[in-house]
Subunit: 131 residues, 2 copies
DNA sequence: TCTTGAGATTCCAGTGACTGGAAGCTTTAT
DNA sequence: ATAAAGCTTCCAGTCACTGGAATCTCAAGA
């Protein structure tokens, strides 16, 4: 398989696949013409990576997960631990965004949004203790 | 004021302040020694920028907001529009994260997390239609 | 056979918003 | 006088790609 085919089959752009080879996530063979020659196994890995990235795992998490995926002696606890760590990060980020959203929504609500210059949003941003 | 003082008064690191000058958000004067000489006005701007960034506005949004802040003929509708756009983006991101969180939490819950290799998380990542 | 176009290769640079570090100048304190 | 702190600039790195240029290979049509 050439890169185009794995790209369409895995859903990842060729650029990304090359990048994944660059950083050592995959290691496809090479044909005589210098083209990458992907095996089914490479395609599986790429699919795995694509799905992991879709779930928001970092590249380093993906590296770990991929290693566990390939390790028949893994303990599922290891996988779960990585996933739980990521879940906590997601929860943190959601909490952050929601708090931020609260502040912003309040500000937006307070602003008349008309043709006059007075604006509680700008007042808040400028640091005055307005409320 | 030297950069150290504006840094501690605005809460922004000196590096960030220099960066903001670099990209044209502020334009402090210079003393004879080559040091940046900040006025109160610069400090106000930096505080404004710090607060805007804390609310998650992009640098380009900050540029727009700062221009509106300085424009006495602004219409509050312009400010509100920027803020509403940002609010929508935040809502989108929260929705994305929550959907992702749902999937991930389900997967984590399904995984035994013991010393055996069987793992529904990896099964899902590998793309099999497991459930 | 020649050509054309698609698809492959590498390498360099840019994204956003900083951040770290090196090398060197100025000021302040001892 | 000297040492430390603070300032300067510039270059490189972060994360995970993405765009583009220049070049090479391959498959199909005239």
């Amino acid at each position: 398989m050439n890169i185009g085919e794995v790209a369409s089959r895995s859903g990842l752009p060729p650029k990304t696949i090359r990048y994944y080879e660059d950083i050592g996530l995959i290691n496809p063979m090479r044909g005589e013409n210098g083209y990458r020659a992907f095996r089914e196994e490479d395609l599986h890995k790429l699919t795995f990576l694509g799905r992991s990235r879709m779930l928001g795992f970092s590249i380093e998490d993906c590296r770990t997960l991929l290693a566990l995926y390939e390790d028949r002696n893994r303990e599922s606890a290891q996988v779960k631990s990585v996933a739980e760590g990521h879940l906590r990060q997601i929860d943190d980020k959601i909490a952050q965004l929601q708090s931020l959203r609260g502040t912003l929504a309040h500000l937006v609500q307070c602003c008349q949004g008309d043709d006059r210059p007075d604006c509680p949003i700008l007042e808040d941003l400028s640091g005055r203790p307005a409320e």
